[in-house]
Symmetry: C2
Subunit: 124 residues, 2 copies
Amino acid sequence: MERRKTQSTEEILSTLKDTDFALSHKMIQQRLSIEVDRATIYRVLNRFLEDGIVHRVISENGKQYFALCEDCERNDHHHNHFHFRCNKCGKVECLAREVDIQLPAGYTAENINSLVTGICASCR
Amino acid sequence: MERRKTQSTEEILSTLKDTDFALSHKMIQQRLSIEVDRATIYRVLNRFLEDGIVHRVISENGKQYFALCEDCERNDHHHNHFHFRCNKCGKVECLAREVDIQLPAGYTAENINSLVTGICASCR
DNA sequence: TTTATTATTGCAACACAGTCGCAATAATAT
DNA sequence: ATATTATTGCGACTGTGTTGCAATAATAAA
Ligand SMILES: [Mn+2]
Ligand SMILES: [Mn+2]
Ligand SMILES: [Zn+2]
Ligand SMILES: [Zn+2]
């Protein structure tokens, strides 16, 4: 189960590093300098997820967006921040503000997905 | 563009009324006492959305869930509440707690989709 | 360096959610 | 009873994401 350093993984990783917002699978594919199969991109991203290198947001358009983890460690993640998708430029940003989860008694949280859509500052 | 009262719309509406949590298209189909085509269910739900009768949540499983609007009026909606999806029973509930959106300067909100997953009280 | 091991890839096929065009049906108005 | 047209069912389609399998290539061992 060891991980191998391949051209695909390196390319995808550096694409994520070069971008300050979250990317969908398709956005990633378009930014790659080499051609990588769709399935491979998904597999690489899912491996990154497992390894805690990236986190994933689901937008209300049904798509998955991936962004590098900032201050996460392997087993201590904190992705309880808001996300914002601009309806004009399509960018999905990680916002600084955290979501404070206050669930009813007896409820346990495992994952949070908070996304606000609207118009971003650059598009306004 | 007037709306007609049909067996399908009545059935779907009463199904939503009978349930205190949000339903996916498939859950609705299974609860109907008559057979209604998939496409029709989607069209009815989208009409309900337009009319402000229901609101929609997107889960991180990529599916849409629909729930009756509680205190909404045609043009004054407030669906900025949290939702919770139980990983065991699959129920998607509307939580009472509201999401307070504080966006960066220059950002405008149009829609909010906040969903927490985990285990609900009945399943724990 | 050569060989063996196996993680990763590409391709095709698949599953599934949601949408759409179109002709048939049925709810409402006349 | 007739006309109008919103709604339906069906099939076809789109798009996202996953999976099986054989081929490829990264790493370890010889
Ligand atoms: Mn984020
Ligand atoms: Mn709700
Ligand atoms: Zn924008
Ligand atoms: Zn539950």
